[in-house]
């Protein structure tokens, strides 16, 4: 109970005093996570559209596989990316291991399946009558796609938010690929796990509160965009 109260207290103090180290970690977290989400969106949304609107052999199986990958354990993604990015691995030349680049790489791989899958669900959720109407009005493919994306924009926004949430809250990939290097690859989640392992429970809790506060701000911003 004491830890709980102390945690809230510490969180408020860290935020009010703009503690330089916490600020640094928070900004880095945002940079890495938003980069991952940006890159993932570039791949996932078009990929989701292609899968939704094209008919091909094995489509259902592919969608099932994508949905299965939602359950990818973050540590496994971390381990796979470690093996890929290690200097003895296939992409070792990039020297991305233990750098923020590597972390973006790992988080991108982690959230592409979930964002693709939710995009498919979003586009499939559109009333088929609308598709028929658009087609019968003689829309070009581009117009067809644009209309669908506009129709599904809330659900696609939700896909982005879910991707963001998974990326900002995961610790397995961040610690395996980033290495939790102070001032370089330490993000909120890895700092939380470090402080927890050191027995500083109230500081961990405070960092957790800060992470949630960021998520709240992002969500409010997104819903503001939606309502415009």
């Amino acid at each position: 109970m004491n830890d709980l109260l102390a945690g809230c207290e510490t969180a408020i103090r860290l935020i009010l005093t703009a503690d330089p180290e916490v600020l640094n970690i928070t900004i880095r977290t945002l940079q890495i996570t938003s980069s991952s989400v940006g890159i993932s969106a570039i791949f996932a949304i078009p990929l989701g559209a292609v899968i939704t609107f094209r008919n091909f052999y094995g489509k259902r199986l592919l969608i099932s596989i994508i949905q299965t990958l939602y359950a990818l354990p973050t540590v496994i993604v971390g381990l796979l990316c470690y093996m890929i990015l290690s200097r003895s691995g296939p992409l070792g030349e990039l020297k991305w291991l233990f750098t923020p680049y590597g972390m973006v790489f790992g988080q991108t791989i982690l959230i592409i399946p979930i964002m693709t899958g939710l995009t498919i669900a979003a586009l499939q959720g559109i009333d088929p009558g609308i598709s028929d109407t658009i087609r019968s009005l003689g829309a070009s493919h581009l117009q067809f796609l644009k209309t669908h994306l506009r129709e599904a924009r809330f659900a696609i926004m939700a896909a982005i938010i879910v991707g963001f949430s998974r990326a900002i809250s995961e610790v397995g990939t961040a610690v395996m690929i980033g290495g939790n290097i102070k001032g370089h690859t330490r993000v909120l989640t890895t700092a939380i796990s470090l402080q927890t392992s050191m027995g500083n429970f109230s500081l961990s809790l405070a960092l957790g509160i800060i992470l949630l506060a960021i998520a709240l701000i992002i969500n409010l911003f997104m819903s503001f965009l939606q309502n415009r």
Partner: protein, 307 residues
């Protein structure tokens, strides 16, 4: 869908990748230097938890301009990272694992820079009555008491760290088969770092082996007490070595050599002799300089500059 639709998607994807990719590269760049000019150390958690490495890295940067960074993991993982050529330097405390690492050709130029002691810590009531015993006798007492007293629990790191391998060695020296100990109900394998293992030991009111530097760092959050220390089998020697450039051509050999020489330099050895004294009364790590006989290594290993 037909070709133009496909083209449209491809153009869309490539276009945005290029655009965002460019903006992104610049953005991520500002997060820190790219690692071409950095020295990366794979190390054990005790050197990190005491903040000693942060201090030394800063000093080294002042003198050489080189950014040094470290990833703090168990000794087992640190050596594995180095074997994959992902670190330039290894700083660990497991002589047997180090020997193997060097014999296999991965490590070079080992120097011993400091030492401290392992401690057997446990609950104040000490249900296994280990207080006053020596190292191996204490391990025997725990195993025997655990057979009849359910309060006696031993928590192991269980993570192939240097501390874990010392613990295995101690069970062996006490005359037990580790596999048998490991399978016992009173033996809990945490599979975690030192801090988490200590927290778990505290919750279970059990016994665990820890190093004195980590103990000094975490002690204030714990109600456990050190019960056995200062035993010849509890000596904990820290070594630094570089990754062999013949196995890993990309390693930063020149700077790695400078780091090793820096670690055995008078400057660092002086820092070690005082670091932590203010807080604990004793240093976290005793300097290796002049203590070759205490640590059971050659004088050359503590003082010979790497050429």
């Amino acid at each position: 869908m037909n070709g133009s639709f496909r083209m449209c998607i491809i153009v869309l994807v490539l276009g945005t990748i290029l655009l965002v990719g460019g903006a992104l590269a610049e953005k991520v760049e500002s997060l820190g230097e790219h690692n071409a000019d950095r020295l990366l150390i794979a190390t054990t958690t005790s050197l990190d938890a005491t903040n000693l490495l942060d201090l030394l890295e800063e000093k080294f940067k002042e003198q050489t301009g080189v950014t040094v960074e470290h990833v703090a993991v168990g000794t087992g993982q640190a050596l594995e990272i180095a074997k994959n050529c992902d670190a330039d330097i290894v700083m660990v405390h497991d002589r047997a694992a180090e020997d193997k690492f060097i014999d296999e050709g991965y490590g070079k130029d080992r120097r011993v820079f400091g030492y401290n002691y392992f401690l057997l810590v446990g609950p104040e009531q000490d249900p296994a009555h280990v207080t006053g015993l020596n190292g191996t006798a204490a391990f025997k007492a725990i195993k025997q008491a655990a057979a009849t007293d359910p309060r006696v629990v031993f928590v192991s790191r269980g993570d192939n760290s240097g501390t874990h391998s010392r613990e295995k060695l101690l069970w062996k020296k006490a005359g037990y088969d580790y596999a048998e100990v490991n399978a016992s109900a009173w033996y809990r394998e945490a599979g975690a770092g030192m801090g988490q293992t200590l927290t778990m030991t505290q919750e279970l009111q059990g016994y665990t082996l820890t190093d004195s530097a980590s103990w000094a760092t975490y002690e204030s959050n714990l109600s456990l007490v050190p019960l056995v220390g200062n035993d010849e089998n509890f000596l904990n020697v820290y070594a630094v070595m570089r990754v062999n450039e013949e196995k890993c051509p990309d390693v930063n050999t020149d700077i790695a050599k400078r780091w090793i020489n820096f670690m055995i330099s008078d400057e660092v050895q002086d820092i070690l002799s005082t670091y932590g004294v203010e807080k604990n009364g004793v240093p976290y790590f005793n300097p290796g300089r002049g203590s070759a006989d205490v640590m059971g290594v050659t004088v050359e290993e503590t003082s010979d500059k790497v050429a």
